[in-house]
Symmetry: C2
Subunit: 890 residues, 2 copies
């Protein structure tokens, strides 16, 4: 077995198709080398080694020899020797998994420098400042990454940075680039002492020891907690492992004719087809990515180094031509010569993803089918976020401007630490995380925050890249802000903003405002609308919406909803005089009293349905009969109970007693759903009458109506039968009263399939029900035995322990709940071949769940209005995946 | 199609095998007629007519003609004519379903009497008193049963009884038999007036109208509420319907040489092989059954009418010979001539059932296999009830004695109405229902009461028959009691007992005591033990017990338990210093604090297990790891919380906050089961250590131990894997510490299968679990979505509506929960062919559920100690049923 793959000199052992073996970075380096792009030569140690280590706990036996041979080839290509004193070959060691995990794993640069080769290199370059600079960087990185110096210290100390700060202070130096060769030499000596003092060992002067130390450390960085957390958050499998890329160093910090930068072949924020990037002169790549110095826009390079810019433009064209996708590349200029260090598919915002996909399809670079696949449904979420109301934004007090690092609008309370961001969000407070700069340790807080604001770092800084990946509003590099972590405040334009005060960010313009700004709703247009229209041509699943109000229904229609999959009638009972009538019904002693109260509710409910039917204009509307336990309509505090009692002419005790009588140990499994309508048949009668009368009234105004009556929480066919009998009786009465025939109002009666028993007896239920709509929230609660209200206490630990890969309330648990759904589909179709099958749990807006719904052959999914476009795209992708599978793979 | 089946004169159209068509009574009349037993001739209208009516709403077309023909045949056999004035044939009309429903349906006697034939019959018999007596009985029954007089009156009035009472008062008469012919004639006239007044119609003078009215009424009585309730209670299918028997009348009330009685071929209370029964002279059968007069023991007939007694003994022999089972027969003597009116398999107590079955097998009448099938498992419950402690009973104050109508010992508060009995029992108060006599309307209250006491009625009165059927302690005919319903009290031996005061009944001796008497535990011996030993030879299912204490374990071993199927460890944490340590653990801030508290619990828990292992002496013991949510161990009231806080050195607020933090919306679906041990691994570590250390200690004393560690509430294979890993690690540690090998302590690790998700993914779980034990309580809760604590609010209505046939918490819901169990068995065996499968829910003591467990091939069931004998018998019957099915039917 071969573990090592060489690249460079216009050739390569591997190629771009070998991502899983070489990692994304390694595969692309090989591919670029084959394309004749100037790549520093090197070799990739494959992911098979990472897997071997995790199984066997050691390297495979042939690896050492392969590395020796690889080094020999690098000597041949570069004419330099690793470990030599004169003209030494210096190496970088970087991680690279098949899936990009920006900033998550470790890197060590400048390997091969020793006290002796430093002298040789100074003699060779005549630039002692550069040589001591890269040597101090090597010792610093090696100390951090390989020797784990910080882990041997208490507190948050960083002795390397302390030394640099001291030397700068002693010499009155403000920025690193002003450090002299002598300063840097002193730093090197103190760095080495720090290592000796704290670790009781020397910084290794054997280059091979350095190299293997770095390789060991990079493989080990696959398993750090932060890397695991990132993979969990992004659903990346543990077993894929990372490759390690060992590559000849080139130096952007050799002199002022050297530099380093990052470029995107298109604008990653807007998707505009223009070359986009940033660079720094006299710097190493880490300086750009880490966001310590704010870099220059790429376009300025055209003036400063026009031949390099031309060469970069040619690389850009070659890469887009070759990969047919927007690329994110790193380059280094070493003494006027360009090197490309890596290329990969560029991270982009949702807006950019849509625009790039549509424009590439329009230009014929990719097919429309491919364009539809290019955009991740979750990314669309960003396009569906509200934006600031323009008038309100104009009047808001501007605190400053940063870079528009990730678009969107965010309002929240200021917090200055990731931990506090997580805590406040858990308490339901939206926050803006404000940091001088972010680091991978902040991932959790960034995920929790509504928006991110940093003082340092450009468009490609850690904060910017991560925020765009999360689709989260971010403003970076807002250099005018003065943050005081100790006082927990920042000052901008003379305004002092304390932790806990509200600010607003516009991630599309970079503006930062004091206070909260009202937002407006997004809408479909332009590229976005076109992409979704293309998606509609491929998908088989219909997409409906969950909507309880005419407003929600209208929003969803605007987003392309093809019906209402879940209209929850109970939400109509909570406002104004309705709740009074509802309570009157609950407090009534007998059926006659309940019927009196229901008579008051009937016209209100009918009116609601008329409005919704009118908005839906002929599309199917699934209306669920009353579902929640009755106690939810009564106040649970004694003050509230007394108020209700006074208002309704009961004694406080009567109300209290009723609440006590309705109390349940486990309301989730109690007297709710169809159990209510079966024990209080008059409730069903009222609701069904309201639905049908509304349908007739709307029909008479010339609008088509397709009501679907949905019975909740059915577990036994006989429940369904009994409710259906009542429904048919009421409907027949209404038809007779109104002189209408059933052809005029084509209705259906079905059930929400959400009880495990219903899934395993779905054949008998299908005999009574014309449709099933999976209520996957409750099916998950009962199937897994997880109360949604309580599972928070252990479910996050469960996911951390790898029991469930994902939260089963967010992504359908295919193995368990999915199995129940499949059984229900199979049994249902056996009894009623043309049964209509849908899903109306919150999973209806989740891409992975929608894939599953497509696979098991549902007719539709239903989701919240703002997720309708996401569902349309996910449904199309599911259909395309299926075609590919049928055709034998992509 | 033929609807009418004739019998009499030593011949019959039908026979005893035709129960489903002719009902039990009709089939037995046909069979008796064929056997040459003197049966009054008649015909049976088949159950097919009842089914036809319920489907078509009318009689089948040929029925009228068949009845005409049948009457013609009766005329030929009897030489009398129905409707004739001279020598008229009089008829009875009685119900008779395939399954006996004593007292539930209607009967009309003496049909064919009219004002004119009364005169003819007087002329013929020369006994006007008798003739007016049967005429007034006809009018009374006809008024009640056919004309439904009472339904037309308000309140609880019974005008017929009022008239009799008035006439008796006017004439100074105390008992009915002292009424003269003139009195009775006056009664007849007033009865007819009552009908005219209230119903505005005459009592029909057309005999055919009388006959059809009675037939209509008897068919209709199948559907009365009380009959439906009875069928529900006894799991009798609605669709079987009743037959109607039309039979020539014979008269036990013709004179003093006439009489009527009831006999059992063996003693229905003790099972003793002696002829047993009661009779009354000059009475109709209803008088004996209804319990208005207290009848004479059958044996006295040997002196009074020796030839009749001899003839009865011969019938007894013939019937037992023929049916090979104890028979319950009704007879009438008409002017020195014996008639047998019906025979059926006799109801018996559990004690009698066991004795009869064993003695019949010993005498070779039936096989042992048949003996095992003859006893209903539920009947054994009676033998397993406690009896009074003899010393305490001796010292108790005797209030009086009645008949020992149904054995057992009962203590409870006196109530005088069925309604109040139901209410008090629902509130958890055991009650004794005390009535002058009971009627079918009292069924609900009789079922609810702990025991029944009546003033009137013999061993075959309504109260006695129903109580024996229910296996409920009953004392009947306690004539010395003076009940005052208005004052809600009774007086006995000068002692006044108010409603709500405690009394005790000994149903085996008939003694009634003041106050509560302590009881002693039942044990297996004699016939009972032999029958169960026979059962053990047939059954395949093992029977274990649910036991948390050494005492329970010992009781169960005594009853034949073959292991512990469920030992709930949490019950060990509730007492004394244990609850203190448990609370200390819950209130601890961190793992270290929890471990400190657990260290205190370890020796206590270990000690418990040692005791249990010692009692079980080598039998397997399944121990469930901690299951309930932690808040169950903390007080929920503020007083209790303050006490805990003071005792344990916390502030009241800390305790309150902890309780609040542990509060769950749906604790059933919350942080409990294996979720506890996964998030607090130290709890599992302590429990597993305690189990294994206890096993080693007991083993060292020379006692075999087979611990089975059961992980509760597993829904995902990874939960099982993680707990198993912890367990194996702890066990390896303990083995190493104690220098023991795994061969010495053969343990198993498995799961309680109770989450629906576990059932549908049982293959993956079986890879981690060596056994499944179905926790059908929780599987039913989650599978059906019924909180056991809350479902009471709708489940009884659900059963009344026929949604579930039986309470799914009592009898396994085969179609739903059973389906999940079958899936789990199939998948589990697929992954682990020799997986051990059991059940430890409360269904483990229910016969129907045990049948199901046998059918799906479980290895064992586990039930409460007192139900172990029931389970042994039910398991044997399940195996025998299976053999029969395999052999093509019984």
């Amino acid at each position: 077995m071969k573990y090592l793959y060489l690249f460079g000199d216009g050739k390569a052992d591997g190629d771009g198709s070998m991502r899983s073996l070489l990692g994304g970075k390694g595969a692309n380096l090989a591919e670029m080398s084959r394309l004749g792009i100037p790549v520093p030569p090197g070799f990739t140690i494959s992911t098979a080694v990472c897997q071997y280590i995790s199984q066997q706990g050691e390297y495979p036996s042939g690896l050492k020899d392969e590395v020796e041979e690889g080094l020999e080839r690098l000597h041949q290509i570069t004419g330099q020797r690793f470990g030599a004193i004169d003209n030494p070959l210096l190496l970088s060691v970087r991680s690279g998994a098949a899936v990009s995990m920006p900033g998550m794993m470790d890197t060590v640069l400048n390997l091969g420098l020793t006290d002796r080769s430093v002298e040789g290199l100074i003699a060779q370059t005549g630039n002692p400042r550069f040589v001591y600079d890269i040597y101090r960087r090597l010792i610093q990185m090696y100390g951090d990454v390989v020797l784990k110096l910080k882990e041997h210290l208490s507190g948050d100390r960083d002795p390397f940075e302390e030394i640099i700060a001291q030397i700068k202070a002693q010499n009155g130096i403000k920025i690193d680039s002003d450090l002299t060769a002598a300063n840097l030499k002193a730093i090197v000596n103190r760095f080495k002492k720090v290592i000796t003092e704290h670790l009781h060992r020397e910084f290794p002067q054997n280059p091979m020891e350095q190299l293997w130390g770095a390789i060991d450390a990079v493989f080990a960085s696959w398993n750090t907690e932060r890397a695991r957390k990132y993979r969990q958050l992004h659903h990346i499998e543990e077993k894929i492992g990372t490759a390690v890329n060992v590559q000849a160093m080139v130096f952007g910090n050799m002199d002022e004719r050297s530099g380093t930068g990052v470029a995107f072949t298109r604008d990653p924020s807007t998707g505009e087809n223009s070359f986009y990037g940033e660079y720094l002169f006299n710097a190493q790549g880490e300086d750009v990515v880490a966001g310590i110095r704010t870099p220059h826009p790429l376009k300025t390079l055209a003036k400063v180094m026009p031949h390099i810019y031309e060469e970069l433009l040619a690389v850009r064209e070659k890469l887009e031509e070759h990969y047919n996708d927007m690329q994110d590349l790193e380059f280094t200029i070493q003494q006027d010569k360009l090197y490309i260090l890596q290329t990969r598919v560029g991270e982009r915002t949702g807006t950019a993803a849509v625009r790039i996909a549509v424009e590439m399809a329009d230009s014929g670079k990719i097919s429309r089918r491919e364009a539809v696949r290019r955009v991740s449904p979750d990314q669309l979420n960003q396009l569906l976020h509200p934006t600031f109301a323009p008038a309100a934004e104009k009047e808001a007090i501007l605190l400053g401007r940063g870079l528009p690092a990730s678009p969107g609008a965010a309002t929240g309370k200021v917090v200055f630490s990731a931990k506090r961001a997580e805590r406040a969000t858990a308490d339901g407070e939206p926050v803006i995380l404000v940091r001088i700069e972010t680091s991978p340790e902040d991932i959790g807080g960034m995920d929790a925050a509504a928006g991110i604001l940093t003082v340092r770092g450009g468009m490609t800084s850690h904060a910017a890249v991560v925020a765009r990946g999360m689709g989260k509003c971010c403003v970076s590099g807002a250099g005018d802000l003065l943050i005081d972590y100790d006082k927990r405040e920042f000052v901008a334009k003379g305004i002092r903003v304390k932790e806990g005060e509200m600010i607003s960010l516009n991630g599309s313009t970079g503006a930062i405002y004091q206070g909260a700004i009202p937002t407006i709703e997004p809408h479909l247009s332009g590229d976005f609308k076109r992409l979704l229209d293309w998606a509609d041509q491929f998908r088989r699943l219909a997409v409906r919406t969950n909507a309880d109000t005419p407003h929600d229904a209208a929003v969803a229609i605007n987003f392309g909803a093809e019906g209402i999959g879940l209209c929850r009638t109970e939400h109509m009972f909570f406002t104004g005089e309705r709740i009074v009538a509802m309570r009157e019904m609950i407090l009534a002693d007998d059926e006659a009293g309940r019927r009196r109260a229901l008579t008051k509710l009937l016209p209100m409910q009918r009116g609601d349905f008329e409005e919704i039917f009118t908005v839906m204009d002929g599309l199917p509307v699934t209306i669920r009969l009353l579902d929640p336990p009755l106690h939810e309509f009564l106040p649970h505090d004694s003050a509230g109970q007394e108020k209700v009692a006074t208002a309704m002419g009961f004694s406080a005790e009567e109300v209290r007693n009723k609440v006590a009588a309705l109390h349940e140990a486990n309301p989730m499994l109690g007297h709710r759903g169809c159990r209510l309508g079966l024990t209080y048949r008059e409730i069903n009668e009222m609701q069904i009458r309201a639905i049908i009368e509304a349908a007739i009234n709307v029909k008479r105004r010339g609008i088509m109506v397709q009501p679907e009556i949905m019975v909740p929480l059915v577990g036994h066919w006989r429940e369904m039968e009994l409710v259906r009998e009542v429904a048919e009786q009421v409907i027949a009465e209404v038809f007779a009263e109104q002189k209408v025939t059933s052809e005029e109002i084509p209705y259906m009666i079905g059930t929400m399939l959400e009880v495990p028993r219903a899934a395993v007896t779905a054949d008998t239920i299908a005999e009574q029900a014309e449709f099933f709509s999976f209520g996957t929230n409750d099916l998950t609660q009962m199937g897994c035995g997880f109360s949604r209200d309580d599972a928070g206490k252990f479910l996050s630990e469960y996911i951390a322990m790898g029991i469930y890969e994902q939260d089963p309330f967010q992504v359908i648990d295919r193995d368990g709940i999915g199995r129940l759904m499949e059984m229900a589909c199979d049994l249902g179709r056996k009894a009623r071949p043309r049964i209509k099958l849908g899903l109306c749990g919150e999973h209806g807006g989740d891409a992975a769940s929608i894939h599953f719904c497509h696979q098991i052959g549902l007719d539709y999914v239903s989701c919240s209005p703002y997720r309708v476009p996401i569902a349309r795209l996910a449904a199309a992708q599911a259909a395309l995946d299926e075609n590919d599978t049928a055709a034998g793979g992509r």
